[in-house]
C-alpha cells in the first residue's frame, strides 16, 4: 500500500461527505393519499360481495399465491400458514383478500369500515424488512416485492395494524433452505401500485364510485388536497379523523361521525383480528432514530479521535519492548 497520508485522508473524507450530504426536497411523504369516509359506507349490504372488495380481488388475482402442496411446516414447529383453501373468505385480510369491510355496532349504529394497509409515512414494515422486499414508493404507497419476500412475517409483527398476510408454500425461500428459514410470501394492499403509476385510480376507489356516485366512500388524490379536505369536512361536519397522526402519519385518512376512541374500545371488546388503536407511536421515529443520531455521532467521534490521536501520538505505540 503506497497511499500517502494526504491521499488516504482525501478518499475517506470524500466518502464521508457523500454519505452525509442531505438531499433536500426528497421526502418520505408520498404524492397521494386516500380519504375513506365511513359515514357513507353501507358495506354494500344489498350486494353479494362489497364492490370495492370484489374489485380488489379482481385487480390482483393474477398475483395471488399458488402454493405447491404439500406445504412444509415451519421446522422445528409443526405449523404453517395456509389460506389457499380459504380463498373465498372476504371478511378479513388474507393473502387472497387485501381489503375487507369491518362491521361494528356502536350505540345502535352499524359501522362499515373498509380496512387495508394504511400506507404509513414512516412505515416500520419497510424499515424493518431484512431483505428489502418492502419499499416505500414516491407515490406514498408501500409495496411488497413478492419475488424477494421470504415470508418471515416480521412486517406483520411490527406493523401497528398487523396488515400483511402470509401464505406458505410459495416464494424464494423454497429455493434456499425451505425447511429452516422463510415461511412463504407476505401479501397486502399496494394501493394498486401499477394503476397509480399509470395515472389511474385504485380499483376499489373506482368500484365504489360506480355504485354510490357522488356519495362515494373513497377519494383518492394528491396528499395535500386529501388532508385539507378531511380537515375541512371534520371541522364543518363535526367528524373525527383517523390516520393523520397514527404511526407518525399515513396516506389513509378515515372520516367518522363516531369517535375513534369508541371504535377502538368496541373492536377491543370484540377481540377483532384487526384493531384500530388511536394512539399509535412510530417507534422508528421516536425511539430508534435518536439512537441513529448517536451512532452517527459515534462515527464522527471515532474519526476525530483517530485523526487527533494519530497526529499527536506519532509512532510510540508500536515500539516493541524487550
Amino acid at each position: 500500500m503506497n497511499l500517502s497520508r494526504r491521499q488516504f485522508f482525501k478518499v475517506l473524507s470524500g466518502i464521508a461527505a457523500l454519505a452525509l450530504s442531505p438531499k433536500d426536497g426528497l421526502s418520505y411523504k408520498g404524492k397521494f393519499a386516500t380519504l375513506i369516509d365511513i359515514t357513507r359506507c353501507d358495506g354494500c349490504n344489498d350486494e353479494p360481495i362489497p364492490r370495492c372488495v370484489k374489485a380488489c380481488r379482481e385487480e390482483n388475482k393474477h398475483r395471488f399465491p399458488e402454493p405447491k402442496k404439500p406445504i412444509m411446516p415451519y421446522w422445528p414447529r409443526k405449523t404453517y400458514e395456509d389460506w389457499s383453501d380459504k380463498r373465498d373468505k372476504i371478511d378479513t385480510l388474507t393473502p387472497y383478500n387485501w381489503l375487507f369491510i369491518q362491521k361494528v355496532e356502536i350505540e345502535g349504529k352499524t359501522l362499515y369500515i373498509p380496512r387495508r394497509c394504511m400506507h404509513c409515512d414512516t412505515p416500520p414494515c419497510v424499515k424493518g424488512c431484512p431483505f428489502g422486499a418492502l419499499s416505500k414508493q414516491p407515490e406514498g404507497n408501500t409495496v411488497i416485492d413478492h419475488s424477494i419476500c421470504f415470508g418471515g412475517a416480521k412486517c406483520r409483527d411490527i406493523c401497528p395494524w398487523h396488515i400483511p398476510q402470509r401464505q406458505a408454500g410459495v416464494g424464494i425461500y423454497l429455493k434456499l433452505m425451505p425447511k429452516f428459514a422463510g415461511g412463504g410470501v407476505m401479501y397486502k394492499c399496494d394501493l394498486c401500485d401499477a394503476r397509480i403509476k399509470r395515472g389511474e385510480e385504485p380499483a376499489c376507489v373506482i368500484a365504489c364510485r360506480e355504485r354510490l356516485k357522488d356519495r362515494t366512500v373513497y377519494k383518492f388524490g394528491h396528499r395535500e388536497e386529501i388532508y385539507a379536505e378531511a380537515r375541512r369536512r371534520a371541522e364543518k361536519e363535526g367528524l373525527y379523523i383517523y390516520g393523520d397522526t397514527q404511526n407518525g402519519g399515513t396516506s389513509t385518512l378515515y372520516l367518522s361521525a363516531i369517535s375513534f376512541e369508541k371504535i377502538e374500545a368496541k373492536l377491543k371488546e370484540l377481540k377483532a383480528r384487526f384493531q384500530m388503536p388511536v394512539k399509535v407511536r412510530n417507534l422508528y421515529k421516536e425511539e430508534i432514530n435518536p439512537l441513529g443520531v448517536a451512532v452517527l455521532s459515534a462515527g464522527a467521534m471515532g474519526i476525530l479521535t483517530g485523526v487527533v490521536g494519530a497526529l499527536a501520538g506519532k509512532k510510540q505505540d508500536d515500539k516493541e519492548v524487550l
Binding site: L12, P76, G132, S135, D145
Partner: protein, 220 residues
C-alpha cells in the same frame, strides 16, 4: 525464557475488544432482527423474552453499533494516518498462509513469520472488507431511516439486502476467527497477548523469527 515482548499496545487491544464485544452483541441482535428467534424458541428461553420484540432488538442493535462504529472508524483513521499498514497482505502471503493453515492441522511446518502471520494479514483484509460493507450499509440504513438521505425504492432495497448478506458473512468470518484462535494451540499465546499485551520471548523466537531478528537488531 522469562522476558516478555510487547505485541499489542493498549490502543490496539482496546480497539480489538471494543469491536469484538460490540460485534458479538451486534451479531446476536442482528440475528434477532431476522424473524427467526420466535420460530426457534429462543424467545421462550428464560431471560430471552425481550428478543421477541423487534423494536427492542433493533434499539439494542443501534446501541451496540455506537461502540462498533466508533471503534472501526477510529481504527481506520488512527492507523491509516499513522500508516500502520503492516497488517495488509504482502507478496507471497497467499502461499505462506496456505502453509500456515495446513501446519495448524499438523501438516508440514509453519514458514518463518514476521510480527504478523501471513494468514493473519489475509484474515484482516477479509474481515476488514466485510466489516466495511456491513458498517457502510448499516450507516446508510441509519441515514435512510432518519430520512437524511433518500435513494428511492430500488437502491434502498438493495442496501437492506446487502446489510443482511454482509452481516451473514461477518458472522461466518467471526466464527472462523474464533475457531482458529481457540482450536489451534500455537495461537493461544496470541490470545493471551490480546489480553495482556505481551508474548514470551521464546514464542517470538520460534514463531516469528523475522520479527525477532528485527527486534534484536534494533536493540543492539
Amino acid at each position: 525464557m522469562g522476558r516478555k515482548i510487547k505485541r499489542y499496545g493498549a490502543i490496539v487491544r482496546l480497539e480489538h475488544w471494543m469491536v469484538a464485544l460490540s460485534g458479538i452483541m451486534l451479531i446476536f441482535t442482528g440475528l434477532g432482527c431476522l424473524p427467526l428467534f420466535k420460530r426457534y424458541y429462543i424467545t421462550e428461553l428464560p431471560g430471552f423474552k425481550w428478543t421477541a420484540n423487534f423494536y427492542t432488538v433493533t434499539k439494542l442493535h443501534y446501541i451496540f453499533a455506537i461502540f462498533f462504529v466508533f471503534a472501526v472508524l477510529f481504527h481506520i483513521f488512527y492507523h491509516g494516518l499513522r500508516r500502520d499498514f503492516s497488517l495488509l497482505p504482502k507478496k507471497g502471503d497467499f502461499i505462506a498462509s496456505l502453509k500456515m493453515i495446513l501446519a495448524s492441522f499438523g501438516l508440514g511446518k509453519e514458514p518463518p513469520a514476521d510480527k504478523w502471520l501471513p494468514e493473519q494479514r489475509w484474515a484482516y483484509v477479509g474481515i476488514g472488507f466485510t466489516t466495511l460493507i456491513v458498517l457502510l450499509t448499516g450507516i446508510i440504513k441509519v441515514l435512510k431511516n432518519l430520512e437524511w438521505i433518500y435513494f428511492g425504492p430500488k437502491v434502498e432495497s438493495t442496501i437492506n439486502l446487502l446489510h443482511t448478506i454482509s452481516g451473514g458473512l461477518f458472522i461466518l468470518l467471526f466464527f472462523i476467527h474464533i475457531f482458529f484462535v481457540l482450536a489451534v494451540k500455537s495461537n493461544w499465546p496470541l490470545l493471551k497477548a490480546m489480553l495482556t499485551g505481551y508474548v514470551d520471548e521464546e514464542y517470538v523466537k520460534h514463531r516469528h523469527p523475522l520479527w525477532y531478528e528485527r527486534l534484536r537488531k534494533r536493540l543492539q
